[in-house]
């Protein structure tokens, strides 16, 4: 089934975790997002693809509070929270974690400290001034085990390879334990083997979390085996399984016509 228009749903009965409707963002006359609609259910994993400039990163920026939409709704948690009114920290505290397109870790901190900073917990100044480790070491160890960086525990994050940084960021996402994970190009610059491992890891995470993955790599998206949304020129072009969208004539045009 192909759906290329917004699914209209009354706001108060939205059962979805994330609900975007009519979202428009303009930069100096350029429409980065144009009447975008997106509906992510609880526990769903969704892949988002689209050519450069389709608005994928801007969409993430809107969800995480980095960019405020000119118009439209960005609702979280069954429509109970308007994300457009919150700032980044508040949104993160609500339970939305993000991995950036370019891996962004704290290069002057050790791998362990990176995960520690991401670990869910009180974010206030006072609590962190008098913070004491309390079972955190084991939890961090478990996460490092999952992302395969146990041996790198005391290395500076800046010294990691590109792929290791990607994983560390995924580890930080896991540590945050958010309700919704936004993962931007997790396998950019990874070898095929690493890509497969990452796909497995994400599928694993998706068992207990809601995940949105933005990716260029069609092979990787295929491995995830989830519903795909195709963005183009700031709005949804097509939605469906990977086979459905890759058979769609307009999607093919957008990808090959460039």
């Amino acid at each position: 089934m192909l759906v290329s228009s917004a699914i209209e749903r009354p706001r108060e009965t939205t059962p979805s975790l994330l609900y975007l409707n009519g979202v428009t963002v303009t930069f100096d006359g350029f429409r980065a997002l144009d009447n975008l609609a997106l509906d992510i259910s609880h526990g769903e994993m969704r892949a988002i693809i689209g050519p450069n400039g389709a608005g994928k990163t801007t969409m993430m920026d809107v969800i995480t509070g980095r960019t405020r939409p000119d118009s439209g709704e960005v609702l979280f948690d069954n429509g109970s929270i308007d994300l457009a009114k919150q700032d980044e920290a508040a949104i993160a505290e609500l339970g939305i974690g993000r991995k950036f397109q370019k891996p962004t870790v704290f290069e002057n901190h050790t791998v362990e400290d990176n995960v520690l900073l991401a670990l869910e917990g009180d974010r206030t100044v006072r609590r962190n001034l008098f913070w004491r480790p309390n079972g955190h070491t084991e939890r961090i160890g478990a996460i490092l085990q999952t992302i395969g960086l146990k041996a790198q525990r005391d290395r500076l994050a800046g010294a990691l390879s590109h792929g290791q940084k990607q994983w560390l960021e995924i580890g930080m996402l896991i540590a945050q334990n958010p309700k919704l994970l936004l993962v931007d190009e997790p396998v950019a610059g990874m070898t095929d083997a690493e890509t497969r491992t990452t796909a497995e890891l994400l599928r694993d995470i998706a068992r207990s979390h809601t995940v949105i993955v933005v990716e260029h790599d069609m092979e990787f998206v295929r491995m995830l085996g989830v519903k795909v949304t195709v963005l183009n020129d700031g709005s949804v072009l097509a939605e469906g399984s990977i086979d459905e969208v890759s058979a769609n004539q307009r999607v093919v045009e957008v990808y090959l016509g460039r």
Partner: protein, 412 residues
Amino acid sequence: MITRRLLEAPDGRGWQFLAILAAAAVVVPVLNVFVPQSSSFHVTTTTVALWGKYLCYALLALSLDLVWGYCGILSLGHGAFFALGGYAMGMYLMRQIGTRGSYAHPILPDFMMFLNWKELPWYWYGFNHFPYAALMIVLVPGVLAFVFGWFAFRSRVTGVYLSIITQALTFALMLGFFRNNFGFGGNNGLTDFYDLLGFSVRAPKTRAVLFSLSAVALGLGYLLAQAVVRSKAGKVLIAIRDAESRTRFLGYRVENYKTYVFTLSACMAGVAGALYVPQVGIINPSEFAPGNSIEVVIWVAVGGRGTLVGASLGAVIVNYLKTMFTAGMLAPYWLFVLGAMFVLVTIFLPRGVLGLLRRGQHPGNQPSAGADPSNARGLTPPAASGLAGSRASSTPSHSPCVGEGRLAQPAE
């Protein structure tokens, strides 16, 4: 518990530093007061006063390093907090003069008599009590920093913008304190002090004790700063320094952390200023001069930004050199040396003297040479890494905004 936190903070180098300070706090006054002047072990009162001054500068540098080295806030107005602490102490010392002034008025300081003022302005009330003055020494710089930080950090004024408005802040304060009707002695400032807690500030013994107190204050300041830096909150500060938005996306309220550390740092600078004033015997508006605040930055840079011991060391090194130069016939060349120091240290010695010593070792929490490049680099796609880039420009194709005198933005 707090004591425990303080004491477990220092590392090996930290303990060395504290040990040297403790030794100096005891040995120097003894050599000054109890060893006869004829002895070659005697330390002159001039030397004691000079090194006491250096220690105050070291505490000031420490406070700046806390915000700049660990949180990336390059304050070019820290001299203002130092001066405010100094003025608070100066006001106490003025009130202690009593009838010994030229006009012999029991309450009004000489400069107010000279201006024909009839009564003490309200903000001078209470400064005859030392505990009140001591409170103000910490409170006035702290409150100013808090209010300033509250506004600046909440509106996300960062980088050079923040530096420039801190510079404007100290400049505005300087203009104000230069005015007679501000009630702080105008041009001449506050001077001709007599007593501090009943001891003559001019007596060598008082000087020696002030020296020790400065060393103790520096030690405590170090312990406090080290405890903050070593805590998890300290890790957050460094995270903010290196990748501010990333930290925000993890749910930390960056503005609260910044306001907190900025205020703490201002309080420390205030204490440094308060100890400085009785040792040099004067506080005047030139302490607010923008150039002074910038000079503090070079002390930190020379010693090693992001290492608390380094910042203190840098303050002593630069000021010792300054004394050497400006005392002799090399005086006209001092500004060349200072200027060259700014240029050479930033280009060739981004980690300062301590970084040089530590080369090859584990770099610990030293900041990368750049200001906070990982910030811009990490979060904005390369095509739009301009200042305008900011949040809005995450779309690579955003840059159709040229012409009409509107040029692309500088990278930050």
